[in-house]
């Protein structure tokens, strides 16, 4: 399997528009928490939002990155 140098190329793959607008992020917390059976206590909400924001910022970089279809995901990993 061959891997070519693959720098972040925003021309080929536009970065996703994450995080979504604040209202969408709030809805996402509600829906995602419900699907996971989690209760987000109002006291936790600000912290969860801050960290979800950090996660979506990381995801922007990750999702904009082009990887080969054949790239084996890490869990089969022999350094």
């Amino acid at each position: 399997m061959k891997y070519e140098s693959n720098s972040l190329d925003t021309k080929k793959i536009p970065p996703p528009s994450l995080p979504a607008d604040p209202a969408a992020l709030e809805s996402f917390i509600d829906a995602g928490a419900a699907l996971n059976g989690l209760t987000v206590d109002p006291a936790y909400r600000t912290g969860v939002r801050i960290h979800l924001n950090a996660v979506t910022n990381a995801a922007k970089l990750v999702l904009a990155f082009k990887v080969e279809d054949e790239a084996e995901p890490g869990p089969v990993f022999k350094p």
Binding site: Y3, N36, G37, L38, A59, V67, A71, F77, P79
Partner: protein
């Protein structure tokens, strides 16, 4: 004999040659812990009775002329390692309700086989999701070099216990930097081995894809001695490599002549405070390094590690988050809840990037044997500090202390963190990074740096 600043190698030598017995070594360690640990809060469990019993057995083995590389060496482990008879709390409130562990962690067993004596379990950030050393349940571990400052985490007690002179050796875990960060902040040598090199059997996990275990010590030789004792295949950990033991201690003094060493630029030359670069430059200069190297896509690698950590960590704790969210450390809980919301497509993409980044590193290691990079972007922040400025940008402390360590552990490369003292202030570490399975090279470089006085662990008055 006064042993608080003696190395593990020296203690073992004294015990093997009859100048000291294991019982005395252990008593000295326990006495110092008893007298001073209220200041540093490194230990959560001091196991005096067990330690005395084990030391007596070591003395009997030495009397039978068994040569034990770690004879009588007191050591302690982060409290996510199973220790027979106590619950494996992993820094949490919830886990201390678990049944006491029925057996020791495999690494504890292997160290004790070589004559080392476990004296206790150590404080840590809750469930290892931490770079600070703060813990709401057990109290913060304090940096022995300045008690108002962080030890770094999550192997906080491991850093504090070795830097305070309680033990010459401690074990920690490193998922994103949790051995290298406390080594940097506490002025120690720390080894994060290759992913899969040391068995994780009977330790509490965090992120299966990225979890490593390893030692912290005040000398590279002690890292090598303990690492050699802990190596070897183990079917109990499916990730543990089926590789035979490749000893490092015997060749640690071989020097660095002929090694191609590069200093990482690009991503690793941004975001840090000037002291992070001054430390790296000092190490590079001492090694005669003039060539710089670029590990492409390190920023994306770090972002990928961030997602995998949040997602796998959340998956591990989902049940506890549902049932007992209020019993978590709030800083950890909110990050885990956010992690539970990550779509699987994001983390699978991150895992594919891991493969790509591994290829990038392999390519770079065709030109270099060793790469240098800062271990942390700053020296130890103050305990309680929530934000810091990196490259002029206000950032949260807790998730961002590991910006330089995360890309490296993401692809499992072995690293020795080495301590640099730029002035009379706190220390800061540099990562000596080797290709997979070449811990020996990183240890040789660390040893050379110590021999030349460029990197060392300093005693402290508590």
């Amino acid at each position: 004999m006064n042993i608080e600043w003696k190395s593990a190698a020296a203690i073992a030598d004294y015990v093997n040659t009859g100048k000291l017995n294991a019982g005395e070594a252990v008593s000295a360690a326990l006495a110092r812990i008893g007298a001073l640990d209220k200041k540093t809060n490194a230990f959560t469990d001091v196991l005096a009775a067990r330690a005395h019993e084990a030391a007596a057995k070591v003395d009997k083995r030495v009397a039978r002329s068994e040569a034990l590389p770690l004879a009588g060496v007191p050591f302690a482990v982060k409290n996510l390692f199973d220790v027979k008879g106590i619950p494996t709390r992993a820094g949490s409130k919830i886990n201390r309700e678990r049944k006491p562990a029925s057996a020791d962690s495999i690494l504890v067993e292997r160290l004790e086989e070589q004559g080392a004596v476990l004296v206790g379990a150590l404080n840590m950030g809750e469930y290892a999701y931490d770079f600070t050393g703060e813990n709401v349940h057990d109290g913060n571990a304090c940096n022995p070099h300045d008690l108002a400052h962080m030890t770094g985490g999550s192997s906080s007690g491991s850093g504090a216990a070795v830097a305070a002179g309680y033990v010459p050796l401690a074990l920690g875990s490193d998922t994103n930097g949790s051995i290298r960060v406390p080594s940097s902040f506490c002025g120690l040598f720390g080894l994060k081995p290759t992913y899969g090199r040391l068995s994780r059997a009977r330790s509490f996990p965090f992120v299966a894809s990225l979890d490593h275990l390893g030692p912290l010590a005040r000398s590279p030789l002690d890292l090598a001695l303990s690492y050699d004792a802990m190596q070897g295949p183990d079917y109990e950990d499916p990730v543990c490599a089926q590789r035979e033991i490749e000893p490092t201690a015997l060749e640690i003094s071989k020097g660095v002549k002929g090694l191609r060493i590069g200093k990482l630029e690009g991503y690793f030359a941004r975001m840090g405070e000037p002291e992070a670069y001054a430390a790296t430059e000092r190490v590079a200069k001492a090694l005669g390094v003039s060539e710089s190297a670029e590990l492409e896509d390190a920023g994306v690698a770090r972002a990928s590690a961030y997602l995998i950590t949040a997602s796998e960590g959340a998956a591990l704790h989902l049940g506890r988050l549902r049932e007992r969210a209020h019993d978590f450390d709030p800083d950890v809980r909110d990050r885990l809840i956010a992690g539970a919301l990550i779509p699987a497509t994001w983390t699978i993409q991150a895992q594919k990037i891991r493969r790509h980044f591994q290829a990038q590193a392999r390519k770079l290691f065709e030109r270099f044997d060793i790469l240098l990079a800062p271990a942390t972007p700053t020296r130890a922040p103050q305990i309680g500090q929530k934000t810091f400025k990196l490259d002029g940008q206000e950032m949260l402390v807790r998730p961002n202390i590991g910006i330089f360590t995360q890309p490296i552990s993401f692809i499992g490369l072995p690293v020795v963190a080495v301590p640099v003292w730029l002035d009379d202030g706190l220390p800061i570490g540099v990562q000596v990074i080797a290709p997979a399975w070449r811990e020996d090279l990183a240890l040789r470089v660390a040893y050379q740096l110590e021999r030349e006085g460029v990197c060392k662990a300093k005693p402290v008055n508590l």
